[in-house]
């Protein structure tokens, strides 16, 4: 066991920090608080990701033959940490490089790869994820948006909800029902958002401008060639995507950064002297570092080529605990952080409260841990 970063890893992190310092605009923190899905940040992300691509820093963790540099999962982790700590200047494009791209590479047709990958690797694409529906959140298999085969096309009708980035995305990674079988009856279509019959409504939210939407599909015509993989293969493909997404956002890193920032502010105000505030801060730090190490243990297994299973749920839940505790610390000791004066901390709070909900609710992670890590017999259904 060696818990030190290698020289190469240190250098990679420094290179990212230098790049961020040289590239991000002066007013970045105030600007970024509107959230990764805001029009302003989405627009800026095209510039930023283009520069990242020029530097070879957009998809360095992809294999060489698909436009990456084949860097190992430690480098991918360092990249994700530095971007997320910086307020995710890649905006919604982080999804592209974390899981949309890899999923297309694994399951896409040659035509799909040719159509979509260059925009992703060039930093110009923005995808949205058409998963949740009004009647199915954690229970994805109950989704009802219907894609009916009609010759060479599908006709899609139904509704998605909580869809991040939908207002500005160019393409939707749409999960829909092609037969009545619960899990084997769902398929994925790659649908341009300007297809007639798609309507997007933004939902006013607690978590940032333009972040969540309803998307209505009214007899939307999608060619069969836009299907990713086979009919009924969605469950498998999503499983692959989620495994990547679960490790995609190193929330522990931003939580720890926000905690350190909060402590620095409290110190400057002379409010970090009492035992109570110091103890609470330490508890939050312990959970951040526990989540970091649990996540690193998964990264290490990926480096060794081992299958990543339920243990990623354990790391995910550890991260939820850390985010929660940091949010609580800041609410209690630095309440002004949720106001205008501290955009970075406000940004953290808005993103932090999502930790237990996005990408598989915390309760689902606990179910997985119980069944697949602790090997407890399953609940009756």
């Amino acid at each position: 066991m060696n818990f030190e970063w290698t020289q190469d890893e240190e250098a990679f992190r420094q290179r990212l920090r230098d790049f961020l310092a040289a590239t991000l605009p002066e007013d970045w923190e105030r600007f970024s608080q509107h959230g990764p899905a805001s029009p302003a940040l989405t627009d800026y992300a095209r510039t930023f990701c283009g520069r990242l691509a020029d530097e070879g820093l957009l998809t360095p963790h992809w294999a060489r033959e698909i436009g990456g540099q084949g860097l190992d999962p430690w480098h991918q982790t360092i990249l994700a940490e530095e971007m997320w700590i910086a307020g995710e200047p890649r905006g919604g494009q982080y999804m592209n490089v974390n899981w949309v791209g890899p999923t297309l590479i694994r399951y896409g047709s040659d035509a799909q790869k040719a159509r979509y990958l260059p925009a992703i690797t060039g930093g110009r694409a923005l995808w949205c994820q058409g998963f949740s529906e009004p009647g199915s959140g954690s229970d994805l298999a109950s989704l009802r948006t219907r894609a009916t085969r009609d010759g060479d096309v599908y006709r899609v009708s139904g509704q998605k909800i909580w869809t991040s980035y939908a207002g500005l995305a160019d393409t939707c990674f749409l999960v829909c029902r092609t037969s009545d079988d619960r899990k084997q009856g769902i398929s994925i279509l790659l649908v341009p958002m300007d297809t007639p019959g798609i309507t997007v409504r933004q939902i006013p939210s607690l978590i940032g401008e333009g972040d969540i939407h309803e998307v209505f599909f009214d007899d939307v015509v999608v060619p069969v060639e836009a299907r990713l993989g086979e009919e009924g293969q969605a469950w498998e493909i999503i499983g692959y995507s989620l495994t990547n997404e679960r490790l995609g956002i190193p929330r522990y890193a931003l939580a720890r950064a926000a905690l350190d920032r909060a402590v620095t502010l409290l110190q400057a105000q002379g409010e970090f002297a009492g035992e109570a505030v110091r103890i609470e801060a330490a508890h939050a730090a312990a959970l951040c570092e526990a989540a970091r190490m649990a996540s690193y243990a998964i990264v290490d297994r990926r480096c060794r080529g081992e299958a990543i299973g339920a243990e990623s749920s354990s790391a995910r839940f550890a991260t939820v605990m850390a985010e929660r505790r940091v949010c609580e610390f800041i609410v209690e000791y630095l309440p002004q952080a949720l106001a205008d004066a501290h955009p970075y901390l406000k940004m953290h709070h808005q993103r932090g409260i999502v930790a237990g909900i996005a990408a598989g609710a915390a309760e689902i992670q606990l179910n997985i841990i119980a069944s697949d890590v602790l090997k407890l017999p399953r609940e009756p259904r």
Partner: protein, 304 residues
């Protein structure tokens, strides 16, 4: 000991229920993050409901009952400080009454706007002034479901109050606990309704045991908080008040997270009213030093 409401208390709460009924079912579609109502504020003030604490026969306990009940509404009204602390200052004190710790003036203040009374509570002294436009910068984007303002300046001329700062803090804690009790009850109720209606995996969310147990624990906390708050309002004892406020802030912390969690993505929207109660609870968590502050005050009072 007799924990029944008196006839007067029953009559007051009935009158409040009648007065506030039109407000209870507010639709939120056009509401901002901090839902207020000038009409409700005026009706309550004119009905004398915020002055009950001035009446020695009714006292702080009746005022606390009013505060708790009003906190359950989606609309927020500055009631807690007015009902429980204004009686120590005099009924000529303009409302809203904004409580500010003397060394925490850099924090956003609930209900602070021109015309409000700012009460500066220091370790040993209590001063006040009526805020003018030059003292206040509105804070419309703060993530709290109260109207908030920043105190950017203070007049030289502030009124010294010959009340004990400790007494003010005790009543502040009672006010906080009573308000939190109502907020917590309303948030719990709203969450319980949602999970009863919301189906996942072919059954209501509320039938999942893990969620049931966490909501049941919130009920235990809300119930305990109600009684601690009322007891503290009745005794106005420093220890009772600190324990009630501690239980309020700790229960707020543990419950708010769960409530939003159980609403899933719906809990992230402004279309469901839950945030109106939970984000107010968040705003109360940091008062008077947070849980550590209440706990130390309680330890001083209980054990010296």
């Amino acid at each position: 000991m007799n924990l029944s409401l008196t006839d007067d208390q029953i009559a007051i709460l009935d009158a409040i229920d009648t007065l506030t009924r039109p407000y209870a079912g507010a639709t939120l579609h056009e509401a901002g993050f901090a839902l207020t109502s000038e009409a409700l504020d005026r009706d309550l003030a004119e009905g004398g409901f915020l002055d009950i604490g001035f009446d020695p026969d009714l006292g702080a306990i009746s005022a606390a009952l009013v505060v708790e009940r009003l906190a359950r509404l989606p609309q927020t009204v500055e009631a807690a400080a007015s009902a429980l602390i204004r009686p120590l200052l005099g009924d000529a004190t303009p409302r809203p009454l904004c409580l500010v710790e003397e060394d925490k003036t850099h924090r956003p203040v609930r209900f602070l706007a021109p015309g409000a009374t700012v009460l500066l509570v220091g370790p040993d002294r209590v001063r006040s002034f009526v805020a003018g436009p030059e003292h206040v910068r509105a804070e419309p984007e703060a993530l709290y479901a109260y109207p908030m303002g920043n105190l950017i300046a203070q007049p030289d001329d502030r009124t010294d109050h010959s009340v004990s700062a400790d007494d003010i803090r005790t009543r502040w804690r009672v006010a906080l606990a009573a308000e939190a009790a109502g907020l917590l009850a309303a948030a719990l109720d709203s969450t319980a309704t949602y999970v009863t209606d919301r189906q996942q995996f072919g059954r209501p969310l509320a039938t999942f045991q893990a969620l049931r147990h966490r909501l049941a624990e919130a009920q235990v906390r809300a119930n305990g908080l109600y009684w601690l708050a009322m007891k503290a309002a009745s005794t106005l004892d420093a220890g009772d008040a600190a324990l009630a406020a501690l239980h309020a802030q700790e229960s707020a912390r543990t419950s708010v997270y769960d409530f939003h969690q159980f609403l899933g993505a719906m809990g992230m929207t402004l279309e469901h009213p839950l945030h109106l109660w939970t984000y107010r609870l968040k705003a109360l968590i940091g008062d008077l030093g947070g849980r550590g502050g209440q706990a130390l005050a309680a330890a001083d009072a209980l054990w010296g």
